[in-house]
């Protein structure tokens, strides 16, 4: 579908993305003065890398038994559980944190069980809290990646192993380990990269000199100390970290299957006995770890939902408007780029759409803050900048969802559209929108939920009058209004999932037969 008009639009958008990513960096660079890292900066870097590495390691190691159990067992609710593994992606960070505190915190369910056994509660804040929250978000991602790896092993391989009399150890060594060796590094690196720019989790679970990430340090430098050179220095450090991880991730080749198989039928039955019991325990533990915090938010939030103060509803409305605007922006950029990327051999649209991954919310926010500072009151820009940054950060995901279908559309129908001389707008209305409605609805849903739940750049700028709902929840938690916080968090979850559901349903409804 890449007509000349689409290519031109996409090229202009790619240039705009580049500018939006580069201008903040330039502004940071100009503010820098001398670049020397103090002990606090080094501590923040060390903590950032340590917690990201630990989070990645723990997530992928725990994911191995869970993915194996899910791959070889069939039970009622398995499909639902696998679908639920996608839910943390839509879940606002602050809500998950609230749920985790309700389960694992000092007064949480887990501590109460420990108390019954006469044990003291596990301290939640600091490194272990940050890692716990990151594992909560990324264990499901790791399980999904590994599950794909397991399912890509042809059933014939397992059958052959069974006929050769392989024991569990041989099976692991000859079939499962080669797959894991190919999939694990990529999965770990993805999670490491995500955790590098952790802000909301560090803000709520970390803090203090010993548990401050670089993103959090940027926020503190800007918000509390108003030390612009320090913020600029830290933001550049953060950018270097992200960009390095991004470049590294590009180098690790994605695993490409493990030989062709004729289908899943004919795989030998999974081992029974104690192994079967262990698999069940693993699945139950994983499901509990994911579902209990959500259940806690639901149980604690429900009673106060009707009596939420008006400020919470105002914040909710603000968040919805920001989410809808940033979703519109993301889609308006992702669609032309995906269409332009459909031409074989053309890589620049994909690169432009993925590049925001090399930056971070607070880096972009700090840069834009510095640019805007002489011109306007930063608080006036809080919502527009949040919208823009959210749109940029959702772009890589929206693009990836659209690109495959856009390519198929081009292969199947571009020839006929050209031979009929359909003009661009007619192609958009009669061909592109109906054929891409389903992935577009899904991508818009992801972008909307992501923006709805985002707690990043907004924290840099907002005053009382620009609070979004996630920031409101965080402030309520900070002032120990636990009940109101839980209810606002529940509202936030409902709105995030609701927006996703509406967009996704729109896409399914309008999807062409």
């Amino acid at each position: 579908m890449a007509g000349r008009a689409v290519t031109l639009i996409a090229a202009a958008l790619a240039a705009a993305i580049l500018l939006l990513l580069a201008a903040p960096l330039l502004a940071l660079g100009l503010r820098l003065g001398a670049f020397s890292l103090g002990p606090a900066d080094l501590a923040a870097i060390r903590f950032t890398v340590t917690q990201a590495a630990l989070s990645a390691l723990v997530s992928v190691l725990l994911a191995v038994p869970v993915a194996r159990a899910l791959a070889r067992r069939r039970f009622r609710g398995r499909e639902t559980l696998v679908t639920l593994l996608g839910a943390p992606f839509l879940l606002p960070t602050i809500v998950a944190v609230l749920g985790l505190i309700a389960v694992f915190g000092r007064a949480g369910w887990f501590s109460q069980i420990l108390a019954l056994a006469g044990l003291p509660p596990v301290p939640l804040y600091g490194l272990q809290g940050v890692v716990l929250a990151h594992v909560f978000f990324n264990l499901p991602l790791a399980v999904r990646l590994l599950l794909q790896g397991w399912q890509a092993i042809p059933a014939e391989r397992f059958r052959l192993a069974a006929s050769l009399g392989f024991g569990a150890r041989d099976l692991f060594r000859h079939i499962e380990w080669p797959m894991l060796r190919a999939v694990l590094p990529g999965a770990a690196l993805v999670i490491f990269t995500i955790c590098l720019s952790s802000f909301a989790v560090a803000l709520t679970m970390g803090g203090g000199p010993s548990a401050t990430t670089v993103e959090l340090a940027i926020y503190q430098a800007l918000r509390f100390e108003f030390d612009l050179p320090a913020a600029a220095r830290l933001a550049l450090v953060q950018f270097l970290l992200c960009a390095a991880a991004f470049a590294l991730a590009g180098r690790i080749a994605r695993p490409e299957g493990f030989g062709a198989g004729l289908g899943r039928t004919g795989a030998p039955p999974a081992p029974g006995g104690i192994v079967r019991v262990l698999d069940a325990v693993v699945i139950l533990l994983a499901a509990g770890f994911l579902l209990l915090p959500l259940a806690a938010v639901l149980l604690r939030g429900l009673p106060g939902l009707a009596s939420l103060p008006p400020q919470v509803w105002q914040a909710a409305l603000r968040s919805i408007v920001v989410a809808l605007c940033s979703t519109a922006l993301t889609m308006a950029v992702a669609l032309p780029l995906a269409l332009a990327a459909a031409r074989p051999g053309r890589v620049w649209p994909g690169l432009a759409a993925t590049l925001p991954l090399a930056s971070s919310s607070l880096v972009l926010g700090t840069g834009l803050f510095l640019i805007a500072l002489p011109l306007v009151r930063p608080a006036d820009l809080a919502l527009p900048v949040t919208m823009l940054v959210n749109a940029l950060l959702a772009l890589p995901f929206a693009f990836r969802i659209l690109a495959a279908d856009a390519r198929r559309l081009d292969e199947d129908h571009a020839r006929l559209a050209r031979s009929l001389d359909m003009p661009g707008l007619a192609r958009l209305r009669y061909l592109i929108l109906p054929r891409l409605a389903r992935p577009a609805g899904f991508a818009a849903g992801i972008a909307a939920a992501f923006s709805m739940g985002d707690l990043g750049v907004i924290a840099l700028f907002a005053t009382e009058r620009e609070l979004t709902l996630p920031l409101m929840v965080q402030q309520l938690m900070g002032s120990f209004r636990t009940q109101t916080a839980a209810s606002a968090a529940l509202l936030l979850v409902v709105l995030s999932f609701g927006l996703f559901w509406i967009f996704d349903r729109w896409g399914r409804h309008h999807a062409a037969a």
């Binding site: 199947d412 129908h413 020839r415 006929l416 050209r418 031979s419 001389d421 359909m422 007619a426 037969a513």
Partner: protein, 232 residues
């Protein structure tokens, strides 16, 4: 008249040359072995493949650089001739107005074309609800409405059974004779060529041979053709 002037087509390492004329209103079968370049030739005529050298002229006018939709050409592909999510009436209506802004008169003409192709009353259906033969007819109905003087067929009926195919050829003949359309039809089957096309061009060994009377060519095949037909 269609004139191929020193035409040199390249696709990767594959090359095909053509240098000949075809009278307006003629019906030409294009036959030859698979991979011989039949589809390549039609792609170039339809505007999907820019020639390395040479020109394509229609009634003396150079159309080599025209976009596919601007050429005096309708092409029926091997597959994907209909958009699966549009109705049959919309698919056919695209032949009148590619933006699908159709007047009442246009709707009447669409219905008329559906009637002529035996699809009366099926305009509201989607392609998947039609049989393979009916889908071919819908593509022909659109070709009627487009009313371009050149019709290129890249084996659009290859997947149909013998009886259905014969029916389609009859319909095709009736439509194109009435409109005076010049037809180039790729086929694997020498019987189709005898039946439908007074002229045949053999495409083999990197060359699209000039058109020859079909009967003469098939009765007394040259070595390349004999090898393809399995005679001699």
């Amino acid at each position: 008249m269609l004139r191929l002037e020193g035409l040199d087509l390249r696709q990767g390492t594959f090359g095909l040359r053509a240098e000949w004329d075809l009278q307006a209103g003629a019906r030409l079968a294009v036959i030859g072995p698979s991979g011989g370049g039949k589809s390549t030739l039609l792609s170039a005529l339809a505007g999907f493949l820019a020639p390395e050298a040479g020109r394509i002229l229609w009634h003396g006018q150079d159309i080599t650089a025209l976009a596919p939709g601007k050429r005096p050409v309708t092409m029926l592909f091997q597959d994907q001739n209909l958009f699966p999510h549009l109705t049959i009436a919309q698919n056919v209506g695209l032949g009148l107005n590619p933006s699908l802004r159709l007047t009442a008169a246009d709707h009447a003409r669409t219905e008329g074309a559906l009637e002529r192709t035996g699809l009366a009353g099926l305009g509201g259906r989607r392609p998947a609800q039609l049989s393979g033969g009916q889908q071919g007819r819908a593509a022909l109905a659109r070709a009627i409405l487009r009313d371009r003087p050149l019709l290129l067929l890249d084996e659009p009926f290859a997947a149909l059974g013998p009886a259905l195919k014969s029916e389609m050829l009859t319909l095709l003949e009736e439509i194109t004779v009435r409109a005076g359309t010049t037809v180039l039809m790729v086929t694997h089957d020498p019987r189709d060529a005898r039946r439908f096309a007074p002229l045949t061009s053999l495409v083999a060994d990197g060359l699209a041979h000039p058109p020859q009377p079909t009967a003469t060519l098939l009765d007394d095949p040259r070595p390349a053709l004999a090898a393809y037909l399995g005679k001699g």
